[in-house]
Symmetry: C2
Subunit: 406 residues, 2 copies
């Protein structure tokens, strides 16, 4: 295979054609580059006749974010491809199939998911995904348990952790999520209307303390192989299917970071429903759906993880120590809540925002949604370590909406 260079669409077609068992011989393939151009090229190669397709994802050696260009290692392509394969093994059907990985080109050839939509877009259309909580809780329970010291050989786990050392992408998280939002940083941006909130974030000592503890765990706690960026833009959905994509931030970290990411993004959409719902009644109904989903994700995750603990635990000490499992799950819930809060806050005042809120056209409604999101986020960060149940999250979300929307 050739030395690294950004592929042309013609080259993408040539590579796609070589994958066996996808396209009929002599198929007339078309190609479209559909990436957002930020970090990767994404080629969608299709045969109109058979309706079959492939995705070719190629890492670019830099990141373009708000005009700035950051150099970024191509090794993230290896990490993404190896993480996808690992996740597919542990949670079959919940990630796209990987057909091929070309290290020299930093290229992964994978299943075409054009019949799915990005979950964030679905939520902005107030669609419901009745199987999502089941699917994502399986994804989380399986990938986290079976890459941890509980579910795999502990010596192999250390070697696996070594293959997922991911300094550059972790650094992005460490800065953008756990540092910038709480200080003056050129990476931050937010609506001038919430300058008071941004200022409050910079001066809230209690908040800073909790964020420092969560950041410390992110930096040091190699608990399990994380997806590392599990927001609703990294999840493709249909009513009957869920596919987690883009694990280029994968590394060994605290399990709660992945669980919290899913919760946070459902709650960001909850805040945005001020706009997306057609009227008050449908808003109430859709928000209930979102909160039920949050609760169901945790409840099912907790049940599945505990079942693995009972049935598949390789660790004698974990298996046989009275009270340890309950304590572990309590800490995991608390971490998840804290990380959910961090992920909400940064999406309002930090570098990368979410469409659920940024695309609200009415500035007054958008401002209110931002304040609701921040109120939830801060409460989750501050309350995480004391939380005993997922109900704390549900109540916090309800309280914030009630307090700010009147």
């Amino acid at each position: 295979m050739a030395a690294y260079h950004p592929l042309s669409e013609r080259e993408a077609i040539g590579i796609a054609r070589e994958v066996e068992g996808v396209f009929p011989p002599n198929a007339r393939l078309t190609c479209r580059e559909i990436g957002d151009g930020n970090l990767n090229l994404v080629f969608h190669v299709r045969d109109e006749t058979s309706g079959r397709g492939l995705i070719l994802k190629q890492a670019l050696p830099y990141a373009k974010v708000v005009g700035e260009s950051w150099p970024l290692t191509l090794d993230r392509s290896r990490i993404e491809s190896e993480a996808l394969i690992e996740e597919g093994r542990l949670a079959p059907g919940l990630v796209p199939k990987v057909y091929r990985y070309e290290p020299d080109l930093a290229l992964t050839v994978m299943e075409d998911l054009s019949d799915h939509i990005i979950m964030r877009a679905g939520l902005m259309q107030c669609r419901r995904y009745p199987l999502f909580a089941d699917h994502i809780s399986t994804f989380l329970a399986n990938t986290l348990f079976f890459t941890s010291d509980l579910g795999m050989n502990q010596q192999e786990k250390k070697l696996k952790a070594g293959r997922f050392i991911n300094p550059e992408l972790c650094k992005i998280t460490e800065d953008l999520i756990f540092d910038d939002p709480y200080t003056v940083s050129p990476n931050n941006h937010y609506d001038p209307a919430i300058e008071d909130e941004a200022e409050a974030l910079r001066t809230d000592a209690e908040l800073h303390f909790e964020v420092a503890l969560l950041r410390e765990k992110f930096l040091t706690q190699g608990q399990a192989l994380l997806h590392g960026d599990l927001h609703t833009g990294s999840i493709f959905v249909r009513e009957d299917s869920t596919k987690v994509i883009d694990p280029e931030f994968a590394y060994y970290g605290p399990m709660g970071f992945d669980v919290g990411a899913v919760i946070a993004n459902l709650l960001l959409n909850y805040a945005g429903q001020l706009h997306w719902s057609a009227d008050g009644a449908s808003r109430t109904s859709y928000r209930e759906y979102l909160l039920e989903t949050v609760k169901s994700i945790w409840t099912q995750f907790d049940r599945k993880f505990r079942a693995h603990w009972e049935e598949k635990n390789v660790d004698r000490v974990a298996r046989e120590t009275p009270g340890y499992r309950d304590d572990y799950m309590r800490r995991l819930l608390q971490d998840s809540i804290g990380y959910a809060g961090c992920k909400m806050v940064r999406r309002i005042v930090g570098l990368a925002h979410v469409a659920d809120i940024d695309r609200i056209p009415d500035p007054a409604v958008r401002e209110k949604a931002q304040r609701v999101a921040l109120r939830i986020g801060k409460a989750l960060i501050k309350g995480g370590r004391g939380a005993e149940s997922i109900d704390f999250v549900i109540e916090t979300a309800r309280e914030a909406a009630a307090a700010l929307e009147g």
Copy 2:
């Protein structure tokens, strides 16, 4: 350099002679293999005339422990040599100088410390080392702080952690310290006289819970580059000098594990003073010296680590978050106490014992010393998470001696 084979004394002399600037030309070198034959060959090459010497330490591809033979990676030799170099850089003068490392032979050529003695032997002779607390607290504060996210670039830290992934030697610790002593294991051995204590260790749910938490941190918390086996048999001393040796267990783990190891081994000697002290008065005096040393080690470590935090901290969040440093130091103290307890317990009922206690000839005295050590160890494990000061350790040691020695 040749392929791996255990060196002969003649070969060791040949290699030593090549090291520049140590021996005079044409020196008549002698060689003695002084290792205990467990894990390594240790050659002491000497020139009687100049009095100069070198140590050549070669890893063996197996471990002989109580007759059994475990295969062991030679990569531990690389880890040991790289850790020594790192520790020497961060704590100059407190580890032997490394002259040469030969990866193919798993061989490290280092400074001869024949003018020092193993600290455990010194303590068994009731000798005092007035500079030890200062030296070892500097070693701990420097090596732990400057290999952590507080003291070095956080991306480089992740890469460094990758170079110190040490599955096999970590596994030894995980089993022998955190698992075997609390269950029925063929690795355990202990005097039949303390069968009641061994049985109590196997059925103490509160103890098991605390050990599970400490074990979890050992398995997951990549806080700093640890020595990993910092007992008083890994420390060479003179009245005016301290040299830490044998970091083959080095890996990225929880800082408290190293601090706790030092404390535990001083307290094991404390328990053994029932025998080693000449009489009651000298025992009281020497034990006070040991407890003062424990207190001084923590106090100086705490002061030096905090000073680094103020002056050398690379982490904005850690630097600027009110209350974070105090919380960090409190948790570090608590971890240190918990790990000290684990290390005491395993030295009484587990695979590897300590001469401070095992070499007590009178069975009744030895039994009492073992009970004192276990009482302290269990109390430290159970009390660690609630401890607010190093005084808890001092009081626990005094209480145990008073309760059991009458």
